[in-house]
């Protein structure tokens, strides 16, 4: 049972990999730099840990430029600054140039709800999904973060890893392949609930008394369409994502396009929620805690 956060694990694993992977580099815009200083990584790798100051657009284009020179860069910041502010840099610096890179965000949809809207990014995955070829990981546990970062460091692919302060009690074995992993099997024909990343624990709790199949994934692009086709035995599918509602609805529809089915998408609503407080309070407001999920799923199923 790990007690560290996804962000802690990101820093410790990247620090270790910097010692063994000569192409690996980290480009930051002030955020998290203190952690790499404190653990000695900056002193050991002054040319491969770059802090550009509070300049996220530059951060992403610098990472892209390093990739063009054969390096394996990680660009890292809060999700709204990494993905939304710098979206054109991601689109042109990486995708259009034809090079890969690793983007690692923190903050998720509203991890630090007290910061307000400026630090919330419920639309990050939907935005990244508009670009061709990006692998999008939404890990549910620090062990999964570690797996995805090690994997990404070994390739030249375009990879977005979305870290969160929310995590499941345990990592899911088999999630590293990107496949949907069954966590509970319902009877033949029972509804299927797909839980993404940190939504697994609340989904398991919410569906404990239901006859339902629960599938888990920490990789939403590419989405495991084949796995979904193989594992769905009924007509009812519920998709539970910890970001903008319906972000992967088109993936489910495409996977089941030749089968009669109906889909309930659950996630963060598009409306701006002008509240502060905690992430748990926002979950409750959006019906994303176990009680809220149970109610919405049961109502939809007519159970």
């Amino acid at each position: 049972m790990s007690t560290d956060s996804m962000r802690d694990r990101f820093v410790s694993v990247v620090t270790e990999l910097l010692d063994t992977e000569p192409r690996l580099a980290v480009v930051m815009a002030d955020i998290s730099v203190d952690r790499f200083r404190a653990n000695g990584a900056c002193a050991r790798h002054p040319l491969r840990i770059v802090n550009v100051g509070i300049r996220e657009g530059l951060m992403v284009d610098v990472a892209a430029g390093m990739a063009l020179e054969g390096m394996r860069p990680i660009a890292h910041s809060f999700a709204p600054f990494l993905v939304e502010r710098s979206f054109e840099q991601v689109k042109l610096g990486f995708s259009h140039q034809g090079v890969g890179g690793i983007l690692v965000s923190i903050g998720a949809s509203y991890d630090v709800a007290a910061y307000g809207r400026t630090h919330e990014a419920p639309g990050d995955v939907a935005l990244m999904a508009t670009l061709p070829g990006w692998r999008v990981h939404v890990p549910g546990h620090p062990d999964e973060v570690e797996t995805f970062i090690r994997e990404a460091a070994r390739t030249d692919d375009a990879v977005y890893i979305r870290l969160s302060e929310r995590k499941n009690a345990a990592a899911v074995a088999g999630a590293d392949t990107g496949a949907l992993v069954p966590r509970r099997r319902g009877a033949a024909g029972a509804p299927t609930v797909v839980a993404v990343g940190p939504m697994l624990d609340p989904v398991m709790e919410a569906t404990a008394s239901l006859d339902a199949t629960v599938l888990y994934t920490a990789t939403v692009r590419p989405f495991d369409r084949e796995g979904l086709r193989a594992l769905v035995t009924g007509t009812d599918v519920v998709l539970v994502e910890p970001y903008l509602e319906g972000t992967s609805a088109a993936e489910v529809s495409a996977a089941l396009s030749d089968r009669p089915h109906r889909l309930l998408s659950i996630g963060v609503p598009r409306t701006e929620h002008r509240k502060y407080g905690s992430a748990a309070q926002h979950d409750a407001a959006h019906g994303l805690d176990a009680a809220g999920l149970r109610g919405r799923i049961a109502e939809w199923l007519g159970a």
Binding site: A25, V27, L47, R48, V50, V52, G53, R55, G57, L58, D61, V62, A63, A64, G65, M66, A67, L68, E69, G70, M71, P73, E88, Q89, L92, G93, H96, Q97, G98
Partner: protein
């Protein structure tokens, strides 16, 4: 050197220039179809020629040589002069110029590094080249390669993009001696740069100089001048955009 002489040397391995400066306007006309060109097509012509003819250590037979100098056309608009120079220097076939901007052409209204040999970056959206060049310079430094130099060409209107400001600060603080920014100034920035673009670089610690953008000798002199420990900005002034 004449065109005919070069034709006879087509199989030669000597890195001689297939075409000279005097051929560029004809090469451009293969794309634009006339002999009178818009200022966006020709404002960069002399800077590009001096870079490719006298400054850059590059070879079309080894366009991806790791030790080559890197030239980044950040200002992707009006790339006809760029394509003409690439053709003149043997990076692309003259015949490709005739297909310019057509559906199947490799030569679009903005260049794509994935389609054209010798093109370092795909550009068109303004304000990305200099930030990417900073990353490339840092990448070269991290790899321990201190030979290759980077030259990034911008326009004075492109300089409106705030992303350049981010790159200017970082390049200076990181002491990127390998980097030279060339700003072709045809006074087309809508809100202008009172006091000149040169000082925007100088105040951050770049070596900065303004030069006549049509004077080949002056361009060569500044583009090859040493600037130890700091990046170099060359503002190449040409006639105002019509």
């Amino acid at each position: 050197m004449t065109y005919a002489t070069q034709e006879s040397n087509a199989e030669s391995t000597t890195p001689e220039t297939p075409h000279g400066y005097e051929d560029l306007r004809r090469l451009i006309s293969l794309m634009t179809g006339d002999e009178k060109h818009s200022s966006s097509a020709t404002s960069t012509l002399d800077v590009l020629w001096v870079l490719y003819d006298r400054v850059l250590r590059i070879d079309p037979r080894r366009a991806d040589d790791d030790d080559r100098d890197r030239f980044l056309l950040s200002k992707g608009h009006g790339p006809m002069a760029y394509y003409a120079v690439l053709a003149a220097k043997g990076f692309i076939d003259e015949g490709a110029l005739r297909t310019w901007a057509r559906y199947e052409s490799t030569l679009g209204l903005h260049p794509d590094r994935n389609l054209v040999p010798g093109v370092e970056i795909s550009s068109g959206s303004l304000g990305h080249g200099l930030p990417i060049a900073v990353g490339m310079a840092l990448g070269l430094r991290a790899r321990g390669k201190d030979g290759p130099r980077l030259f990034c060409l911008l326009g004075d209107a492109e300089f409106d993009e705030g992303s350049n400001g981010e790159a200017i600060v970082a390049a200076a603080r990181f002491g990127l001696e390998a980097l030279t920014a060339v700003i072709v100034d045809n006074q087309s920035s809508s809100l202008g740069w009172p006091g000149g673009i040169e000082q925007r670089f100088a105040v951050e610690g770049w070596a900065a100089v303004t030069v006549d953008g049509r004077d080949h000798g002056a361009l060569e002199a500044v583009l090859t001048s040493p600037h130890p420990g700091v990046p170099l900005a060359v503002v190449a002034v040409v006639e105002p955009k019509e």
